[in-house]
Structures are given as structure tokens and as C-alpha cells.
Subunit: 309 residues, 2 copies
């Protein structure tokens, strides 16, 4: 079975129902894809690699691996407030296993359907299992959210719950049966709808991949500010309290953002409408780093977030 | 050293002189890059992964590895006749070696400078060394060259020389001193200028990565035609004749294209002007596959091209 036929069979029609509306004239199977530019928009582009036993467990079902790899790339678009348009895929596999590929392509189909965006091209190679997904979305010019733009006094918010996915990963590793947490890990929800609604409201935003405190640190450094977080306000769905390690464990793929206090009720309305919990956890301050305090106002030491090296 | 600082230090200013002219408003270092769409153009998008000891030798200098990884991705844009606009990079490395990264980033700088296009985003992860490069370029609407479009009777052309790079790879593996061939392998020339000039002339085009005969087969299948190649007409710079294996070895990154005979003198003019040899090697015919013949008109069996699986 040659690479070209593999691509044809499993990848040429993923999300293909959306090719026309996304202006894709030539898709999977040629030297390159060809897309009509959406002239009154800006393109938002991000690439994310998922590596076996770093970003997913090799024991996971290929459908979950595919879904998760695209979802975490989409999460960057969500943090910008972008609408997904299309994606490309670079898939490196150890061997040719048709069953695995069939399951993998099913995961792509599910997320393409969910976000109504097609796979338009890719590359398959042989090597240690790894998946790079490059996503492109659109925003109105000048409107995309970035890490820069927080103002002193802005409130800091987080969507969803922190620590659920990392506990799900631990459950998977230990063969425990925590269905909800495991599902948070296997199928992270890219917060596309939330990001879009935050345009014009959030002064900065980031998706939480490496750890809440670590990623919030990027908002601080890009905005030339510090921020103060109340540990008791960090939302969790877990019955046991979050440990200081879990707070910064990453894999949450929630949106952390800052916004002026005047938008508080509007943000509460968005949370209710989208049925996504949004919690105020602190405030942007002078300074250059994130401080976490307990209810007595005493600083809490938080473990470092995820680092590859 | 954290990932964010690595990116800042080695990747944030690669080709940054070209950000403004390519309409890139936010580049490396945020959740995503933000680009103003070039409204009167189509975007041409391709992604290519280079894997250690498959697409390059791990013994190679990191500067060559970087250059080569971007060049082979650009080669797909060349085959479409596109003008490079920007690229993103997903780099997976085994460990953090600052010297290696410095050399790698130098290779990116060289090719960014050569094609005047910036690196605008990426991802660094830990794992077996692999490099995915996603390139985007622009074409006038409807003008990009594809694999589809050959007409029966069209002449088939190839740029440059076949087999030089694969002999260079062998020389590298055997520690031989074939400077010219080795350089063809280490620093493939993306034929961007040629691709652009072929718009309106070529009826179809492909870049030769997996082998001349194999890649030409894609033009045949996409165009619903066959083609007949004369083995003695396949251009080579080598002193010894090409073996049937070398003809289809791949790694050439030359442009194979078809065009009506009436463009012959125009194509000769382009070859002369760009100082790139362009050779007619056969003709599109009825049928569905590539036939290679010797000077007596007897069919020559050619070894299969490169396949990952």
C-alpha cells in the first residue's frame, strides 16, 4: 500500500462537506492545497505537535489520539477568538496498520464535523508516532485576542475546571475508572464558541496547555504586568481539593483571560448561555509575575508547569 | 531553559525583515500568528515532515537539516507556481542542545533570506528528531499549477538533473568526497522562480521527491492519461550513466511538468534566462501509467520509487 493510496483512502474526504464554504478549491492529494483568501478577514494560524507518551498515551484508541491532537491545536484558535477554517496534518507512524488508520481517520471526522472545518492536506511519514496539526481560522481585522493587552486592575478569568484532565491522565495511567476526568483528558473541548464571544470583551487571552500559572505568566510578560490569584477561587470539579501540583499540571485547554470589571455581568451572561463555567480568580497588578495567595493572604508556592526540556 | 525562551531566542526573528511585506501582524510567540489576507490572491498551502535517517542523516550539520527541511516543503509551492509568503515549524528534538539549535536556526535564516519569507510560528516538543514545515504561498486566482490538466500529446519536461542528490546521499553515507552531488542532497534548490514562470505554460506540474517515474505517475492518474519517457533523454550530470534505480530514487526536488509543444521555444528561453536546464523527456499519451523506453523502443523496467511503508 503506498502513501498516496493511504492518503486517498483515509484522509481525502475528512470534513470535505465544508470545503466549498471555506473556499478550498484544491484539497488533499495534490502538491499543495489551494484556498481562496477570505478578503475581509485576518488569518489566524497555529501548529501543534502531539507526541506519543508525552501528549497522549500510546495505549489510547486512535480515534481519541486523532481527536485530541486536533482539539489542542484548535484550542490556540479559541484563545484568539478565531473561527476555524481548515487544517493540515503531518502524521508520522511506526508502521502501516490499516485498522489503526481507520480509527484515526474517524477521530478526524468527528472533530471536523463538530467544528465544520475540513482537512485540506498533509504528509504521512514513517517514524516514532507523532502528529502535527496546523490549524487556520479567521477573525475580523484587528479583533483577534492575544496575550498582550491586559491593563492593571483587569479581572482574571478561567473557563471550565482546572486539574480535571490531568487527573484523568493519572486515572488512565493507573487503570482507574474516573469516566468524567478521563473524558476531559481524551476529548478536550476547544473553547471556540467562548473565544468568539470574548472578542471586544477580553483584554488578553491564552489557552491553558502547560499549566494555569505558567500560561498566565505569558499574559503577564506580554502585557508587562503581574497578577494575583486566589488559590481558593480556582475552579475544580474534583471532590478532593486541587494540589499545588495539579493547579499547574496543564492539559486543561481552558481559556484564561483578563477583562475590565465592567464586563463582569456580560461575562456571566456568556457563561450561562454557553453553559461553560467562567470564574474570576484574581486581578492584574503592577509587577511581572503571577502570585498565588491563600484565604489569609499568604503566598502559596506552586509547582512549575509543564516543560519539555 | 523553558520552551518559550528557546523559541524567543532562536526562532522569533527568522526572516522577520519580511513580516510587514507579508502582512504578518503577530508572529512567533503568541498562541497563534495573525496575517492580513492578501485579498486578490489564492493561498497555496503544503506541509512536509522530515524525519531523522529517512529524510536526512542525523550526522548532518543542523544548518543543513534546517535548510533542507524548509527547501523540500518549498518545492511543493514551486510545483504550484506559488510565491512563498511565510512558514510555520513544528520541531521535535531529543534533547536541548543550544549549539545544535543555534546552527539549526542559522539554516532557517539562510533560506528565509533566500526566499524573503518569514517564520511566523511553531511548536517545540521533545521526542525523536523530526521537523514539520508548513509553507504558505500566493498565486493569482485560478492560476496555480496542479497535477491535473495534462492533455494527450503534451511534451513532458524535467528541470535540472536526476539522480544527483541520491548519489550525494550515498556519498555522504560512504564518506566519499563528491562535493557537487553532496551539495545537491544537503541544499536542494526549491525551483520557485521556475514554477512562477511556468504559469500559463505548463498544463500540469509536480515536484520530484519520491522518484521521477513515481511522481510522474501522479500526473498521469490525475490527468487520466499515460505517458512515454525515453530513458536516454533523462538528464544527468553524472559521469557514469544513471541506473534504473537512480532514475526513480527521489530526493531530486526538480519540477516535472507537461506543456503543449507550441511552448517549446518559450520554455527554452526560460531555461536560458534562469540558468536551469530544462529537458523534454517524453510525451503524454492515452493510457494510465508511465512507460519508459530505450533508444530501440524497447520498454525498460524501472525500480519502484520511494515508499514509506
Amino acid at each position: 500500500m503506498d502513501e498516496h493510496k493511504i492518503i486517498q483512502k483515509y484522509f481525502s474526504d475528512v470534513g470535505s462537506a465544508y470545503l466549498a464554504e471555506q473556499g478550498v478549491r484544491v484539497s488533499v492529494g495534490d502538491d499543495a492545497a489551494i484556498i481562496s483568501n477570505s478578503s475581509n478577514k485576518e488569518s489566524i494560524v497555529s501548529i501543534d505537535t502531539s507526541i506519543k507518551d508525552v501528549h497522549f498515551l500510546s495505549s489510547m484508541n486512535a480515534t481519541d489520539i486523532a481527536y485530541r491532537s486536533v482539539a489542542i491545536a484548535l484550542s490556540d484558535l479559541a484563545a484568539c477568538g478565531a473561527t476555524p477554517a481548515w487544517y493540515t496534518l503531518a502524521l508520522t507512524m511506526e508502521d502501516f496498520d490499516e485498522e489503526w488508520l481507520k480509527d484515526f481517520s474517524e477521530g478526524l471526522r468527528i472533530i471536523s464535523e463538530e467544528f465544520k472545518f475540513p482537512l485540506i492536506g498533509g504528509d504521512t511519514t514513517k517514524g516514532s508516532l507523532s502528529i502535527s496539526v496546523q490549524v487556520t481560522g479567521y477573525c475580523d481585522p484587528g479583533k483577534a485576542l492575544t496575550r498582550k493587552g491586559s491593563i492593571e486592575g483587569d479581572l482574571v478569568f478561567i473557563s471550565g475546571f482546572i486539574g480535571e484532565a490531568s487527573r484523568g491522565l493519572r486515572a488512565l495511567q493507573n487503570d482507574e475508572d474516573n469516566t468524567k476526568e478521563i473524558s476531559s483528558y481524551l476529548r478536550p473541548r476547544a473553547r471556540i464558541d467562548l473565544g468568539q464571544r470574548l472578542i471586544g470583551i477580553a483584554s488578553s487571552a491564552i489557552d491553558v496547555s502547560d499549566g494555569l500559572i505558567k500560561d498566565l505568566g505569558h499574559i503577564c510578560s506580554e502585557s508587562n504586568l503581574g497578577c494575583e490569584i486566589l488559590i481558593d477561587d480556582i475552579p475544580t470539579s474534583l471532590t478532593e481539593p486541587l494540589t499545588s501540583g495539579e493547579i499547574n499540571q496543564g492539559d486543561d485547554y481552558e481559556i484564561c483571560f483578563s477583562a475590565n470589571e465592567k464586563y463582569l455581568s456580560e461575562i456571566e451572561g456568556i457563561a450561562e448561555e454557553l453553559k461553560i463555567p467562567i470564574t474570576a480568580i484574581g486581578k492584574m497588578t503592577k509587577g511581572s509575575s503571577v502570585t498565588v495567595k491563600d484565604s489569609q493572604g499568604i503566598e502559596v508556592k506552586i509547582q512549575d508547569g509543564y516543560g519539555h526540556f
